[in-house]
Amino acid sequence: MTSATAATPRPMRRARRDWRGWGFVGPFMIVFLAVLVAPVVYAIVLSLFRQQLVGGSGFVGLGNYVQLFQDAKFWESLFRVTLFLVIQVPIMLALSLFVALAVDSARLHGSSFFRIAIFLPYAVPGVVAALIWGFMYGNQFGLSGSINDLVGFELLQPFSSQWVLASIGNIVTWEFMGYNMLIFYAALKVVPTELYEAAELDGAGQFRIISGIKLPALRGSIVIATVFSIIGSFQLFNEPNLLQNLAPNVISSYFTPNMYAYNLSFAGQQFNYSATVAIVMGIITAVIAYIVQLRGSRQEVR
């Protein structure tokens, strides 16, 4: 009996549930499709065509992708942001971590002041930050010019081809150190105080507490901060694009993949090829960010 009564209403309920569910999800799905899926699809379609100044538009299949994989400019720009990623991100995260631990240590007078002060650069718009640093990097009348005058030789050359990537790294570190610090600090704040008390009773020193309690508690946020930073590095655009006016020959039109895509479309009208660059970069970024996230969370489970 029981099985019979249970069996009859089931199909009806399932059909009704489907419609109700869509009613709730529908508005989101419409927005999701319109503003997230459609542009990606459109970009993919674009990348399969080639529009010329003479002769109009034509279907080229994977022609743009073939061209991209043979494009030395694209690989050079990708190599540059990868180098930037490998060097700048660890430095920035290490500094953020150090500051977060210092602010959290309760051994700092006025820690809330430091917290705000270090976070403040993040509140400065990236464009303004790049302009401020651009003035300071100035070799004739800027800060680095004054320092060079002081020491009597060309000590600082932030806009020379050897140093320009480091100069940009410096700006980005300055901008985002506070942001990452806040992520770490938030994670430290949720560590139960009982753990610290227990550690103290066991006679653990500060460094033991850091390595035994704080760092394990931070692992998840470090993964997240790393993923954000990887995406940010691959999308580097504002800083080099603004500094280009000050160092036109050092920062080329294909300095980063994003700059390359931008200049291809807005200076060269190569919208299709630009879409190809954007898609390939999107895939590369997603794959790398996914691998980091996978590795990071696996360690966390262990």
Partner: protein, 448 residues
């Protein structure tokens, strides 16, 4: 461009292509560009249209734009002109190109610099104004600007200003180091060495590689690196004129005699003010810039004719532009009427001159009043005599590429490297040429 909030993996992919979305919009109707009717009217149509009135959109970034539109609307009360500042030079061209590609959204009349006119002419987006009797206006303009708006047997616009090149020099610095005003490039290079040796912080000029400057210098040296007939393009950045300029400029570049301060930046203006940049080879529109942006150096600067290679006076155009009528315009006769008034009516040109512009109209170039001006900033020198004289020595037959805007955008990648490494500019020019030829072929041109 660091990411500032948490996003799922899928959203990340979408974000990476967000730029593309923006680009995509502009392509929305790519097939329908330049399909509207071509200019077919007469001079009478213009008068009728101006009487009848209507609404026009005008894109411009000239400082005189607003006052000129006001004066026009006063003269023709039935016409309503909407002035839009759609950005300065390349910013505006990008928007204009997008509107043309999209098939709608372009203004009726737009300001376009001479070097960019061929690009818009090529895509068949400009009205040929010959049928409105604009051919009769030719005598009103000096030769250089006119040939920049009228080529391939069509008239694509009317010149507004011109920039015959001259040498602006800091007399105080020249006097201090006992340097005579150079008249040839040999003397110019010698002056550069003398000045820099006497004071290593001072340079004869600043140049970090500017495509507009380089092409004008090649023009002055008699080079004709670009030719374009329809879709046939030829590029030779190693012709006699190009080589002549590059070889001369190499002496300054390889010798470390050029200041590496990028133009138009804060440091550049300071350098012009404190004497560390002693000369400028540039267009006749420069006095206004100096007076407003380098006010401290009032009294220091003078103007002299361009140095030459063999003593024969010769110069080139640098910068300057005019206005064009777009084919998308719904009222082309009215747009042509506005354009004609804007760049040939004495009332309009008076407003333009008052804003510090350098005219392209011969009547104004030769007017005694204009020639007799002796600005305080230039120590009371009658600078317009020098500048107007220069406008008569511009070699004819110069062409820009039909994709000069793109060409200029990759100048830093190519020739700029020769500046950066203090190397041979000829090598940089060759690289530039190769990349331009590649781009041309990709875009469907026949490149020779």
């Amino acid at each position: 461009m660091k990411i500032t909030s948490r996003r799922s993996t899928l959203r990340r992919v979408a974000l990476a292509t967000a730029t593309t979305f923006a680009l995509g919009l502009s392509l929305a109707a790519c097939a329908s560009g330049g399909s509207s009717s071509s200019g077919s009217g007469s001079a009478d149509d213009i008068e009728a249209a101006l009487e009848k009135g209507g609404t026009l959109t005008y894109w411009s970034w000239t400082p005189s734009g607003e006052a000129q539109v006001a004066a026009f609307e006063k003269a023709y009360p039935n016409v309503d002109v909407k002035l839009v500042n759609a950005g300065t030079n390349t910013d505006e061209y990008t928007k204009l190109q997008n509107a043309i590609t999209a098939g709608s959204g372009a203004p009726d009349v737009a300001q376009v610099e001479y070097y960019a006119i061929p690009q818009f002419a090529l895509s068949d987006s400009l009205v040929d104004l010959s049928s409105y009797g604009f051919g009769d206006l030719e005598d009103q303009y000096s030769g250089g600007p006119w040939s920049s708006v009228s080529f391939d047997g069509k008239i694509y616009g009317l010149p507004q200003d011109s920039g015959p090149m001259a040498m602006f020099y800091n007399k105080t610095v020249f006097d201090q180091y006992g340097i005579a005003v150079p008249t040839t490039y040999d003397e110019y290079v010698a002056a550069a060495e003398k000045l820099h040796t006497a004071d290593p912080s001072k340079y004869i000029t600043s140049d970090t590689g500017d495509p507009g400057f380089a092409t004008s210098m090649i023009w002055q040296a008699g080079g004709k690196p670009f030719t374009a007939e329809g879709t046939d393009v030829s590029i030779d950045l190693q012709d006699d004129g190009s080589k002549k300029w590059a070889d001369t400029w190499n002496k300054l570049n390889e010798g470390g005699l050029l200041s590496s301060t990028p133009s138009w930046g804060d440091e550049w203006y300071k350098g012009l003010g404190d004497g560390s940049i002693a000369t400028l080879l540039t267009g006749a529109w420069m006095p206004g810039v100096l007076e407003s942006s380098v006010a401290d150096a009032s009294g220091d600067w003078r103007v002299a004719p361009m140095p030459t290679y063999d003593g024969t006076p010769v110069t080139a155009e640098n910068g300057g532009g005019g206005q064009v009528v777009l084919k998308q315009s719904k009222n082309q006769a009215l747009a042509a009427g506005f354009l004609k008034w804007l760049n040939s009516d004495p009332e309009s040109i008076k407003v333009f001159l008052a804003s510090g512009g350098f005219p392209a109209t011969t009547a104004d170039l030769e007017s005694p009043e204009f020639l007799a001006q002796t600005p305080e900033y230039f120590g009371g020198q009658a600078i317009n005599e020098v500048l107007v004289d220069a406008s008569k020595n511009v070699p004819t037959g110069w062409h820009y590429l039909p994709y000069q805007v793109y060409a200029n955008s990759i100048f830093g990648d190519t020739v700029g490297q020769a500046y950066e490494n203090k190397g041979d500019l000829n090598e940089g020019l060759t690289t530039w040429q190769d990349q331009l030829a590649d781009y041309g072929s990709q875009q469907g041109f026949t490149v020779k």
